[in-house]
Symmetry: C2
Subunit: 438 residues, 2 copies
């Protein structure tokens, strides 16, 4: 019987990694998860397929065009395109079972049928962390969110990165105090200042701001320099009395205070009055994060405070604050910039290589090493010694344990460090010490 | 503006857990992952959506009816319905990048539009582990697979479970030596003996086996009792010389030998000549696993040896051996049988509860506890003390750390064990000792 061969391939825009890359990817994902959990966030896992009417309760915009929909029988279904809508649905649905503030994290795949281009993925992981209050939510939470992000990028080995921080109420109140009416349009232009420069921003703003004084005042405000504490002082001495402005300054001052208490150094966060983020969603604190040495990555995680998470599913008011890391895109950027040395990644601590076909002693060694918490494999295929070593090499295993007649008769193991090439004949206990103190 | 409220709900047949349940679920998933990795298996993560022509290269059967398909533009896509087909595609596609034997695990969601019924899910996690050889693969691998399963169920707290083990070649060769021709039909009937009993099996077999002697011989063979070693001895003394039979016995003997070496006790695995599994797929060793105290769960994980993983994608011969745990179904069974005490599950080790609105000291305590590897949250909302304690209680936090004036002025913390009710005023260092030596 001859079988038709189908060319093995995946769809464009989907990321698939080699095992070594996957080990590195999982490391990043684990660091994120561990840090989210260390701040007491609870895991949830929602279905990837949901009812269309639920996922699309808030319709409109480009998102809808990008959504993967499917039908089975008479049910209209869609694949989730973010983790925020499922969170809103989850919280509304399970209100009675949850304790508020509800602190949840979710790491999962989402789907968007984006135009096919480098670095854009149609299936990608988001790693979201949010605190949801029932009716109200302390501003101190807004300080915790960026401190988790700080911990994560620190643990991933970055020193030079900046979490940019603002409070939407401040710019809002400031514009109102200048009697600028086209609020949304102005914010949209202001948000572009880093990309297009001050001159162009002034030009575009002319349509909405006629007074030269107001224009200067606005530009000077959003380009304020100085330390975070100096910026707070500046805000307090500005003499703006608009209620929103005052509220925003108070909030930002509290967030600034507790970010320090949480141990985030001044060099890793910066108050920046230009940051506005999604205009129709965030209402207070907003965040963006940039790696200083890789500005081309853009913001590697962003988020903020919102007044009302789930207005499409419940009449309860659920304010929240959260942030999201686009893991697939971030990891792709890491690979593009050679930030990750794949040859340092091995799932294994050691591989046992027996010189002959009797695996009893080798397997016993494996079991003892595993009991000591080590990840170990044994090569049980046929072939000559060099072939076995080549296999261990290809997998970038940091150590091999060679088992021959001498080792068996002396009840020892020969540990070979694959990086230095050093090898020593030791007892199993000594071997465990070598492998665990690496 | 009034917003239309959509009732928050998910599709039938999809599992969604409360955060406490999710913590327990993740624990099971973590145990599986850790054990797979401790044997040196490499992670892979394939797209959930693949090309229809690829996923359905091997067509036919009930599976196809259950598949979720979707189209976007001119592309026919489908959601994966298992992790085996994606593995076959992955290995064929990435042959050159992989080292063989390729040992991979994958934990991920798969989709089947099954009839809606209790305990059946349309989205469920599979946890697969396989070793794939290029051309050939040592039989020793067939012993490692069940020993991983043993470790997993042991670590999940089970003592009484049995991995049932057989080799398809043995029954195959045995039937051939009896000159029974309707091989597949006979196996299908034999497989039902536990469900329908010996009498009914004999009755159904009459159609295919006319000789009473052959019938007795077969029934006595498949119902052989005794220890695993005794069964191997019995096989060797049976005098059957059919090539397949001899090959199967040799393989089973090797597997039996190394399972022992791998430390699986006799009580946890049993050679059982009745086990056949998927008739068109497995060709040698086959496994099923049953929890003695919960026979109603059925087989909680099964698998075996196959000759040719990827015949629909490559002409290379890729033999393999693997096993799969249906995690969603398993976890659902755990919950149904109250095996998991959800009130013992907390993502947190402790929650800091400040008596007033100044959180500086409390947050510093949190940071120190986190540095010691603990998972800690601080309650920063308003409200009276009982409300805060109620929150900690609802989350089943094992310890709370109460911070009042005394604690701040003496630079101490009050650790309260929420299970025993004991509370002690200690230094932070002493507190860390209490919380880590729990």
């Amino acid at each position: 019987m001859s079988i038709k061969i189908t060319k093995p391939s995946i769809l464009p825009g989907f990321m698939e990694l080699t095992p070594k890359e996957q080990v590195a990817f999982n490391h990043v994902s684990d660091v994120i998860r561990r840090n989210y959990e260390s701040f007491g966030f609870l895991p949830i896992d929602t279905p990837i397929i949901e009812k269309s009417e639920v996922l699309l309760a808030k319709t409109g915009g480009d998102t809808e065009k990008q959504i993967y929909t499917l039908t089975k029988g008479s049910t209209d279904m869609a694949l989730r395109f973010d983790l925020t809508v499922p969170l809103a649905r989850y919280v509304s649905q399970h209100m009675e079972e949850l304790a508020f503030p509800f602190k949840r994290y979710q790491i999962g795949k989402v789907y968007r049928g984006e135009r096919n281009q480098r670095g854009r993925f149609r299936e990608f992981y988001q790693c979201d962390v949010d605190v949801i209050g029932n009716g109200s939510l302390s501003i101190v939470n807004d300080a915790q969110i960026p401190s988790i992000i700080y911990k994560i990028f620190k643990e991933l080995g970055f020193e030079n990165f900046k979490i940019r921080l603002n409070n939407r109420k401040i710019l809002d109140g400031f514009l109102r105090s200048l009697n600028i009416e086209s609020y949304i349009e102005v914010l949209r232009i202001v948000d572009k200042i880093e990309k297009i420069g001050e001159e162009k921003v002034r030009e575009e703003l002319k349509e909405y701001i006629s007074s030269e004084e107001a224009m200067d005042s606005l530009i000077s405000f959003i380009t304020t320099t100085g330390s975070n504490d100096e910026k707070i002082e500046m805000l307090k001495n500005l003499g703006v009395t608009h209620e929103k402005f005052v509220e925003g300054v108070e909030e930002l001052e509290t967030v600034n205070k507790y970010i320090k208490v949480l141990g985030v150094p001044d060099k890793n966060y910066i108050i920046d009055f230009k940051i506005t983020r999604g205009l129709d969603y965030y209402t207070g604190t907003v965040y963006e994060t940039f790696l200083d040495d890789y500005p081309e990555f853009g913001s590697v995680c962003s988020g903020g405070r919102y007044d009302n998470l789930a207005q499409y599913y419940t009449e309860k008011k659920l304010p929240g604050v959260g942030i999201s890391i686009g893991l697939t895109r971030l990891f792709w950027s890491f690979m593009e910039s050679n930030i990750i040395d794949l040859n340092k990644n091995s799932v294994m601590d050691a591989m046992v290589i027996p010189m002959d076909e009797d695996f009893e002693y080798g397997i016993e060694i494996c079991s003892k090493l595993r009991e000591a918490g080590l990840k170990v494999d044994i090569y049980v295929e046929g072939g000559k010694f060099p072939k076995k070593m080549k296999y261990a090499n290809k997998l970038s295993v940091p150590n091999v344990i060679i088992i021959g007649e001498t080792e068996k008769s002396e009840n020892k193991i020969l540990v070979k460090n694959m990086v230095t090439g050093d090898q020593t004949l030791v007892t199993i206990e000594e071997g465990i010490d070598i492998l665990t103190n690496k």
